[in-house]
Amino acid sequence: MTCSEFLALLDDMIDVPELRADLQDHLDCCEHCEVTLNTTRKTIEIYRSHQIYDMPPSLRERLHAAIMARCRKGC
């Protein structure tokens, strides 16, 4: 298996804890692909654990109240 073939399957591997045997064989002998897979997983994890665009509760309440007030009036 080449690195390009491995990378083409990267998305399918991201959420799979146990890799197919041929993919694992490639990883065992290719540090580049191992680093790419691990750091791509970390990229997703770090974005998941940091809600970079979270709404502050005060804004959420204000927006929520404004939406519901308009809906109750029939928009």
């Binding site: 691990n38 750091t39 940091h50 709404m55 927006l63 308009r70 809906c71």
Partner: protein
Amino acid sequence: MATIQPIAGMNEQHPDVALVDRVRGGDVSAYDELVRKYERQVFRIAQHITQNREDAQDVVQDAFLKAYEKLDQFQGNSKFYTWLVRIAVNESLMRLRRRRTGKMVSIDEDVETEEGSVPRDLADWALDPEQEYSRAELNRILRKTIKGLPPGFRVVFELRDIQGLSTEDTAEALSLSVPAVKSRLLRARLQLRERLTRYFRRKKGVEK
């Protein structure tokens, strides 16, 4: 973190269907529940596309009001959230166009970016970026990094990887094909990884 739950079985009804039915029957409190359930996710989508906080707030308001007005047009064969995302994406693109004085902005443009999808920077990361940077610094880095991606990549990454939508639902929400979603997601992930490596790479001489 709230993620969008997939439907458990083919015959099992998504809980939103009952809420939508109640709203159609005149129960506004059911819509209140739907707004509470999805307002933060819609805000994040709007922020990813517009990159402007005021615009994102307006999008949340307009998207929920429009969805309420058009609820009769909602077909039960798609999920309420997928339908809502489609409205929010269109509202976001309209805001973005206004800021860019009418220049066409589309989510389905397949943008060739300078990085492509071949990893170049193969350095491993420092053991824990959370220890190297404060939370505020990390947030700044993450915002700056994702801002460099095209809007279509950002929103696919948000829907698939952060909110946990399926590839099919993401494709439906964005009016894209399934292969287009897959291609954007792969490139978004690899480009974010490449850009973050500039910050998080293990310093030379530091042991594993």
